[in-house]
Subunit: 164 residues, 2 copies
């Protein structure tokens, strides 16, 4: 199973592609997409959408996992977060790839077995689970990889529970 | 100039296409797109995106105008509104059509010359300006037509101010 994790933002979007095979995780690619914060919102959203479509076309993931903050600081940031999420969701669903959403607490629970882990703990767990020499940079990319790992663990657990 | 106005929502999205020629406004089409509220968010956003793309392809608007509520009731509705807006924005910007955003107060000011007009007053002004026998239904479509009129008035004013 190949999963594209996305940490969506209207200025910086992290992405990470992970391949899971026989309980082994392998990094395929990761990075961050950054656009000019002062560009019109339409240009920024289109930039993110087209870049994510390119990544999906290149790596053909079986699923897209998107971070869904369960609280935003305020209404204004919530609007921006909602826009960024929609771009990530559309990039997957417009290609008929199933899209899953996870809250930060779910990601922490699945990646580090503890819902209140620090950002640094999560990054270290991502590094260990993927066998990387250093924590992935930038942090948006590390977050995206964590979201992809979260989805793989969720799917694995669901299969175990279903007795498959 | 042909303008597509969009009143975005994740369950119901209103749209209205208006042609402006020599200070005369003419309705081209209007309506509402509705999807099942219980469908996965990816399916709903893709449904809205593909329908809006179809409308854009059919009517080839010169501009897309989207309602941007400047306050949402709470963080949860703000996230949903942001997602719906992003779909409308992407539908235009992915086709290189310029996208404009207007707050409800701007729409009321431009359509009825009064920023605190009631919904009914706006619908009646939309009906009068477009020469329709009755107020357009559903109200999402009427709102979308009002947004399109707002953009046409804004553009007209900007041209007058620029002395063109």
């Amino acid at each position: 199973m190949r999963v594209l994790g996305i940490d969506p933002g209207t200025v910086t979007t992290g992405y990470g592609v992970i391949e899971a095979l026989n309980n082994q995780l392998a990094v395929v690619d990761y990075g961050a997409l950054t656009c000019k914060g002062r560009s019109p919102i339409g240009e920024r959203l289109s930039f993110m959408y087209l870049k994510l479509q390119g990544i999906i076309e290149k790596y053909q993931p079986d699923a897209v996992a998107v971070e869904q903050p369960f609280v935003a600081q305020n209404v204004k940031t919530a609007l921006a977060v909602g826009r960024a999420q929609a771009v990530a969701i559309l990039a997957g669903s417009n290609r008929n790839i199933p899209v899953y959403e996870y809250t930060p607490a779910q990601v922490k629970q699945r990646v580090a077995n503890y819902g209140a882990s620090s950002k640094e703990q999560i990054q270290e767990m991502v590094r260990l689970q993927l066998g990387l020499p250093e924590a992935p940079r930038p942090s948006d990319a590390a977050d995206a990889l964590a979201i992809a790992i979260c989805h793989i663990q969720e799917t694995h657990l669901a299969r175990l529970l279903a007795g498959k």
